[in-house]
Amino acid sequence: MTAVMTDERARHDLKNQLAIIRGFAELLLADATESQQRRRDLEEIHKAAVSALALLDRLYPVAGTEPGEHAR
């Protein structure tokens, strides 16, 4: 049997995975001992994760809301 994921579940899981990448990138960036070269590499990982999270929010806004709409 093939498990079919709901859109909501897929959005949630994808968002969580991206949040893990973003979170660990931030942790490593906070470490002052990293070299300049390593920092630039980490910043690329961080930037990509942040962009992907933003993209996800634009593609699948939470049901009933518009992107950027936080309160009614």
Binding site: Q17, I20, G23, L27, H70
Partner: protein, 319 residues
């Protein structure tokens, strides 16, 4: 610093929280779903639970509700992890008893601050808890002073809470009765042995002194918020509905129900146990005496009947 349980079905997320909290030196355990979390909480209660809401099988709301419904674990703060934009989850979380929320993606600084502040509150409630156990120890010490009433506190705690359940009282009231059984006579700490253990009849002055135990006990418990439901039992378990009791001579419904319940259990247990001044009576004799006291207007007959039919029956005449 404290022990934190992180619950998330994605090991990466749990590891991330663990790394974010690492600088504060907490002891950290992790669970992969709500069911596993509940097992860990039962086995060794943590000081804080940090839990994702969306998990397979037992989700965060259900696990939170279970923690908050169990009197043993309901003081453990539960923080639910939700998405920032998910108001629906927050409402469900509040209804499940959650103490706080954090949003994904995490802000490490905010997460650490919230965990620290909730752990501080948990420490205060733990200290209150231990203050209550000091008072309970005191009550048991008093019981030990009087060698003839061994087990009286335990029995009263059992009878009182059993009658509370028979009467359909809510969980807080039943818990107050259970603790009231231990604490009702805590004020006897202020009564001299010469009066407390006197084998013969008491003089008028000695009676007046003995009556003071209700007021002393009430004052002892007065400092603890967690004992506010128990205080009416401590102060009023010697009142009679016709106003002839002590310390305040309250009448009728003015006598708190929980005190009326405890008074019936107390009288029954005292009559069926040997005391310095009187021998033990058979349960049937004690039952008759309680009914006589109700007819005289001291007690509510329906409460006496409920106690005798549903509670005393199983204790005095088991099987």
């Amino acid at each position: 610093m404290g022990s934190v349980l992180i619950v998330d079905d994605m090991p990466g997320s749990a590891r991330l929280i663990e790394s974010l909290l690492a600088p504060d030196g907490h002891t950290i355990r992790t669970a992969g779903d709500g069911g596993e979390a509940l097992e860990l909480v039962r086995g060794a209660p943590p000081d804080l639970v940090l839990m994702d809401v969306m998990m397979p099988l037992v989700d965060g709301f259900e696990a939170c509700r279970a923690i908050k419904q169990n009197p043993e674990t309901r003081l453990i703060p539960v923080v639910l992890v939700t998405s920032l934009d998910d108001t629906d989850s927050r409402v469900r979380g509040i209804e499940a008893g959650a103490d706080d929320f954090v949003s994904k993606p995490f802000n490490g600084v905010e997460l650490r601050a919230r965990v620290r502040s909730l752990l501080r509150i948990k420490q205060y409630t733990d200290e209150l808890d231990s203050a209550e156990s000091v008072i309970v120890s005191l009550a048991l010490t008093i019981e030990a002073r009087d060698g003839t009433t061994g087990g009286h506190c335990q029995r009263l705690s059992r009878y009182g809470s059993a009658l509370g359940r028979v009467l359909g009282l809510d969980a807080d009231a039943v818990s107050a009765l259970s603790r009231g059984g231990f604490l009702h006579d805590v004020g006897k700490v202020g009564i001299p042995d010469a009066v407390l253990l006197k084998p013969g009849p008491l003089t008028v002055t000695e009676y007046a002194l003995m009556h003071e135990h209700t007021v002393i006990g009430d004052r002892l418990c007065g400092t603890l918020r967690s004992l506010r439901n128990v205080r009416p039992i401590v102060r009023h378990h010697h009142e009679r509905l016709d106003g002839s009791g002590y310390p305040d001579g309250l009448r009728g419904d003015a006598v708190p129900l929980l005190a009326q319940v405890m008074s019936i259990a107390d009288a029954f247990d005292a009559m069926t146990t040997a005391r310095p001044y009187l021998p033990a009576r058979p349960a049937a004799w004690a039952a008759e005496e309680l009914r006589r006291e109700a007819s005289r207007g001291w007690r509510r007959m329906d409460l006496v009947d409920a106690f005798l039919d549903k509670v005393a029956q199983s204790i005095a005449f088991p099987g």
